[in-house]
């Protein structure tokens, strides 16, 4: 709660402060600032850059594709545009600004301008502060779901966008659209990765 209050108080001030980047952040930003290769339909370019950086930090490229390889940032922009109602869109932008404002307060830099290490450090804190989803039974949360923070929402959307993408669903996970049978107990080694559907 304290943190939420602090965020509310700092959001406006930080919003204006961010217009005058500190020397520190300018120095850092040289090598980190991402360039958008796509045109967002809902987000501003700055906001889209934040989402891109965030999902890239969450799900980076390894031997398997990263979030940006399967256009998770573009998907999240689409989700904001098409799945969120006006109220939800407004709330999301507010939360996004707070996220960056808090980052600026702490590191004197916006999230996209942080070093990789600082990004990780900042997100670790967000992990413990951003609430959790309730368990679900048949698609409905059990109990009363408390609102989760911006970070948890984006993480959840990033996972959804990533794992429901064709590349991951067909070529990385195990894709079996017509299993034809149910075998209730087989060695995991026969399957390997999780089923995609």
């Amino acid at each position: 709660m304290d943190r939420r209050e602090a965020l509310k108080k700092t959001a406006l001030a930080a919003g204006s402060a961010a217009l005058v980047p500190s020397l520190f952040s300018l120095l850092q930003s040289c090598q980190q600032k991402p360039r958008l290769s796509w045109e967002p339909i809902f987000l501003s370019v700055d906001q889209a850059e934040l989402i891109s950086t965030l999902v890239d930090t969450l799900l980076p490229k390894t031997e398997t594709p990263g979030a940006l390889d399967v256009k998770v940032d573009i998907f999240i922009d689409l989700v904001f545009a098409k799945l969120f109602n006006k109220e939800g869109q407004k709330a999301m932008i507010t939360e996004m600004n707070r996220f960056d404002a808090f980052c600026s307060e702490k590191y004197r830099s916006k999230f996209i301008e942080l070093s990789t290490e600082d990004r990780k450090e900042f997100l670790k804190e967000e992990e413990s502060e951003s609430g959790k989803y309730n368990g679900k039974v048949w698609g409905t949360a059990v109990g009363v779901q408390k609102p989760v923070g911006f970070y948890r929402t984006i993480k959840s959307l990033a996972l959804w966008g990533y794992f429901s993408s064709e590349e991951i669903g067909k070529n990385v996970l195990n894709y079996d659209p017509i299993p034809g049978e149910y075998l209730g107990c087989i060695p995991l080694s026969d399957v390997g990765n999780t089923w995609s559907l």
């Binding site: 969450l58 368990g135 107990c185």
Partner: protein
């Protein structure tokens, strides 16, 4: 396949009219057509031809623009369906437009509808359980509601009859409180379910866990294919592997040449002829042209779904029945029931890390009722009982949202299946309360000028007491089964969530206290049959659809024999 005759204008008079084409209407149509009756099925929505009209049946998540999610406009259109939690881009075309079909929630009540040929038989959960005399005698024994005018022996052969044609898979157990169906081979339990089953059965003598009994073919039947374990049933099954009117009963009715099905036909009322002392036909409004048309028949089957059937009967007024057709008792619209639902427990199962499964089984486990089944199991906390549905499986990437990790290792870890999880959720019997009711709301009319329904229904102390035990027992069973991180839950949802709405035109022995007789005929208008959920006198704790099928086949065959004897 198919080519349904939808040209009802050729003929305004039929032997039989069936209102509605869902689970029970499909059965009525099949039985009546096969007996040689020229039958008109009136469907308020569009034609949904098996396979041809299943546009999403083969779509993967990435084939859908928003990976299957619905935007705000669609959610507004499906506000009620979305509250139930099952509607998405994959199946929204089988859910009614809630904006165009308003009703009033005097108290919160979820009324999920499917306005198309096949109705909710395209969307149902397919769990099929016979009732027993524990259910049929319950009202008489504890005094809630009125006595059922039939017993298990009266319906047993009809259960077998519909099961042989519908195809029900399951495991025979020989339990008196849950009679076995005529079964196709059961689906398989997975390793964790087998483990939990053996632990629960050892720790709790008298309790059993079994694979769900479900209207899924586990071997081919009458030209229909067996389940391919895609778990995409609610999009329509290309194999016809689960029971729906579209895949099973309506094609059979159509094959006789006796079926006419008229889409976009909203029934306004049933025409009752005071002089003849019986119903003579049905008035409809064409949903597209707003044209008012009358069709005539010797017998009329009401299968519009529980509340819609009652809505039609309440709106069918005449000099003889000024408060609605068949409403001499004043019980029409009353005694609305559902099942409580989404109360239970879930948790994580340790071990079995090296085991997995293949296939997406559209079925779970079932724990039949074990309380109040005899003197030994009697509780003084409540009357009636409950059963559980549930299942086990391994978590996937979606669990990652809550894990306090991110980055390369985190991403790669989500490629592997997560820990095993297991849950059970109870279904409690709901008592028939006179004050749980629907009434016609003539002030609020829909876009066709039809009075809407006002629904005034709530769960009461007995249901709440059952729910408390469901939750406590669920937690205890999972604990004894070795499940970890157990979360007991009770979502305290309003009625309607179970989508098992029943009652409002109950069967009974006495015309003074019931609407229908023992063969589903309106006491004072015997050529009108009600065989959907409206007819239910009590609710049992098991899923009701199989019983609707059996009651419908039984009533249709009674109608056929009475017609032959010229009694109708």
């Amino acid at each position: 396949m198919a080519n349904y005759n939808i040209d009802a204008k050729k003929n305004m008079t039929y032997d039989a009219i069936v209102i509605g084409s869902g689970i029970s209407g499909g059965w009525a149509a099949k039985e009546l057509c096969e007996a040689g009756l020229k039958t008109l099925v009136l469907e308020r929505g569009r034609i949904v031809e098996h396979v041809v009209d299943y546009p999403t049946m083969n779509k993967d998540p990435w084939d859908l623009e928003l990976r299957g999610a619905l935007g705000p406009e669609d959610l507004k259109k499906h506000a009620i369906g979305a509250r139930a939690g099952f509607v998405g881009a994959n199946n929204e075309h089988f859910y009614a437009n809630d904006e165009e079909n308003p009703y009033t929630e005097v108290k919160p009540f979820l009324w999920v509808r499917g306005h198309q040929m096949g109705g909710r038989s395209l969307l149902w959960g397919k769990q099929c359980y016979r009732w027993s005399d524990l259910d049929f005698e319950a009202n008489a024994k504890d005094g809630h509601g009125v006595d059922w005018p039939l017993r298990y022996r009266d319906i047993e052969s009809w259960y077998t009859y519909v099961e042989k044609f519908a195809g029900i898979s399951g495991q025979a157990l020989g339990l008196p409180q849950l009679p076995d169906s005529h079964f196709l081979p059961p689906m398989e339990l997975n390793c964790v379910e087998k483990d939990i089953k053996s632990r629960i059965e050892k720790e709790f003598p008298g309790r059993v866990m079994t694979i769900g009994r479900a209207a899924h073919l586990t071997e081919p039947l009458n030209g229909r294919g067996q389940c391919q374990f895609r778990n995409r049933c609610d999009r329509g099954c290309p194999y016809g592997a689960y029971f729906s009117s579209n895949a099973v009963t309506l094609p059979a009715a159509n094959a006789t040449g006796n079926l006419t099905i008229r889409p976009y036909s909203i029934v306004n009322s049933i025409i009752y002829d005071d002089k003849k002392g019986k119903a003579t036909g049905v008035r409809i409004i064409d949903a597209e042209t707003n044209e008012h048309i009358e069709f005539y028949a010797k017998i009329i089957f009401c299968n519009a779904s529980s509340l819609s059937t009652t809505q039609i009967l309440l709106n069918s007024t005449s000099e003889r029945f000024e408060n609605g057709l068949g409403n001499d008792s004043g019980e029409l619209g009353h005694n609305l029931m559902d099942h409580t639902y989404r109360v239970g427990a879930m948790g994580r199962v340790e071990g079995y890390e090296d085991n997995y499964y293949k296939g997406r089984r559209p079925n779970g486990i079932y724990i039949p009722r074990y309380v109040n089944i005899d003197e030994k199991t009697k509780t003084d906390k409540f009357v009636r009982g409950f059963g559980y549905q549930g299942g086990g499986g391994r978590g996937n990437w979606s669990a990652g949202a809550n894990q306090e990790q991110f980055g390369a290792e985190f991403k790669d870890s989500l490629m592997k299946p997560g820990p095993w999880e297991f849950f059970i959720t109870g279904f409690a019997e709901c008592l028939p309360y006179h004050e749980n009711k629907v009434t016609l709301d003539k002030e609020n009319v829909d876009k066709w000028g039809q009075p809407t329904l006002a629904i005034d229904c709530e769960f009461k102390e007995n249901e709440k007491a059952i729910n408390r035990q469901i939750k406590a027992d669920a937690v205890e069973m999972l604990e004894k089964a070795g499940v970890k991180d157990i979360v007991g839950f009770d979502n305290e949802h309003e009625p309607g969530y179970g989508i098992h709405e029943m009652g409002t035109a109950r069967m009974g022995r006495d015309p003074r206290t019931s609407v229908l007789n023992g063969t589903n005929q309106i006491h004072a208008a015997k050529n009108v049959f009600v065989t959907d959920g409206a007819c239910m006198t009590s609710s049992s704790c098991v899923n009701p659809s199989l019983t609707y099928m059996a009651l419908t086949a039984r009533a249709a065959n009674h109608a056929i024999s009475e017609l032959k004897k010229k009694n109708l």
